[in-house]
């Protein structure tokens, strides 16, 4: 069974907050749910499927379905880390295609900024039952140094430079200057990035995404419902997910799960990377973007540095406009999970509702891709391809 054309994204909402000390976690989930349903022109009583992941409080769907007083006949708490919500759209399309629900609500929210979490730089103990913990926690793995080891190996294998990585941040900053909600709105240069303090070699401070509160929600519906709504019709064409780890000790940091999910999603959608007009690419770090672009097939393996350089990702300048909201590098990274904002900005682009300064002309086909967890140890990957009908 293919999900091609079986479901539409009818509602999308990004919470405007970037710091929410005065709100609860459940409240943020409900606020984004309300926003996405209003955007779609639906009500909470229309929802019969609910999707959330590890950022949701308590027992996920049990807690949030009860909090929002939904009546669902399908629930899914699949967790692939920060890319989860990209996979949730495809999973919602699968559930709709199978007749398990008609209106699927996906929410993400979190307040790591208010809670003062040292997201990227503090080793986390994890649950001792997690089988890798005793063989890794003593060595101080953090989010940033695990991604940094991928960058270090990429530089060694392919000659990628810090200046090339910096171009990813430069492009994001060019977009963020137009987003009034973005945390970092100043345009930066390659020099600014490579001269910012080293966090974990070879990643500098400006190679890293922001830490923000906030959230987002999506509403995915069956075709008949999409046809009855007033919003532009954003059709789901293809999706794929995978998990990649250390390969039993045959560690290879040069490729990500995008190698599998990209080819599978493109095949399902019946399109190629050259057809994509806009791409939301998970930007936890600059290296994340570069590797995912290679693995998705936007350029040859090892050529990511050349591909992202010289503004090639800047809307109106380069060949592949990306993250026109400013992305995780400049806009926000709610709950330390950037998957949902990737889909939301792709929907804005397809609807023609992105900021005029970054709107891609005739944007009919878009891709959202994410990496969840740790690129350098074990990560989830998810790709979604969408079309404006």
């Amino acid at each position: 069974m293919s999900i091609r054309g079986k479901a539409y994204i009818a509602g999308a909402y990004e919470h405007p907050t970037r710091k929410a000390p005065d709100k609860s976690l459940a409240q943020l989930h409900a606020e984004v749910a309300k926003g996405a349903l209003e955007d779609a022109g639906l009500t909470k009583d229309d929802v019969d499927g609910y999707f959330c992941a590890g950022d949701a409080p308590g027992m996920g769907p049990l807690s949030m379905v009860d909090y929002m007083n939904l009546r669902v006949r399908h629930a899914d708490a699949t967790d692939l880390g920060g890319c989860t919500y990209i996979a949730h759209v495809a999973r919602a399309a699968e559930a709709i295609a199978a007749g398990k629900c008609n209106v699927a609500l996906i929410t993400l929210a979190g307040r790591p900024r208010s809670e003062g979490v040292a997201t990227g730089t503090a080793p986390r103990a994890g649950n001792p039952a997690q089988p890798d913990v005793q063989f890794e926690y003593p060595y101080g793995p953090t989010v940033v140094n695990l991604y940094a080891m991928c960058a270090m190996r990429h530089m060694y294998e392919y000659g990628t430079t810090s200046e090339q990585l910096a171009w990813v941040k430069v492009a994001a900053s060019h977009h963020a200057q137009h987003n009034p909600h973005a945390m970092l709105r100043d345009v930066v240069t390659v020099e600014d990035v490579v001269n910012s303090p080293m966090v974990a070699d070879p990643l500098h401070r400006l190679d890293c995404c922001v830490i923000s509160d906030g959230g987002g929600a999506l509403v995915v519906v069956k075709p008949e419902i999409a046809a009855s709504l007033k919003r532009p019709k954003i059709k789901v064409l293809g999706g794929a997910e995978t998990v990649k780890g250390q390969l039993g000790g045959d560690v290879d940091l040069t490729w990500s799960g995008a190698r599998r999910t990209g080819s599978a999603a493109f095949a399902e959608a019946g399109v190629t990377p050259a057809d994509i007009r806009y791409a939301s690419i998970y930007d936890s770090f600059t290296i994340t973007v570069l590797m995912q672009l290679e693995d998705l097939g936007f350029c040859e393996k090892g050529q990511g540095g050349r591909f992202v350089a010289d503004g090639n990702l800047i809307s109106g300048v380069g060949k592949l406009p990306f993250n026109t909201d400013g992305g995780g590098l400049c806009n926000n990274h709610p709950a330390n999970r950037g998957g949902i904002t990737k889909v939301i900005e792709a929907v804005r682009q397809l609807r023609g509702e992105a900021h005029p300064a970054v709107q891609v002309k005739d944007c009919g086909l878009a891709l959202a891709h994410g990496t969840g967890g740790m690129l350098g140890s074990r990560h989830g990957s998810a790709t979604l391809i969408m079309e404006r009908e």
Binding site: F135, Y139, G249
Partner: protein, 131 residues
Amino acid sequence: MADMVQRKIPFSQANAETQPFWDAAKQGRLMVRTCTACGKAHWYPRAICPHCFSDRTEWREASGSGEIYSWSVMRRAPEPYAIAYVRLAEGTTMMTNIVQCDFDALKIGQKVKLVFILSEEGTPVPMFTPA
């Protein structure tokens, strides 16, 4: 920049599957779990071989030599430290730290040798230093 200050090494806890590994570590030996069905070593150690899914796996003592596959110095930490993946002579790659070294001289491909550093809890943890 040399790591003059050794950060405190946290330890998680062993379990029934891994206790022999940490018992051997206390004797200064690095054990690698190896499959007698497919002949391959793997990391981290498991009862079931992650390559061929055989349950015929056993502990074998590693030579303690290897080379750096990748590394990163965590600069934004109270005491900077070098995390790395080291490819062991036995053909499998483990996460570790590179210690007692000049951080600015670390290189992919560099030969390293095994050292044990005591964790806070008292269990020795296998790490590496330039050979």
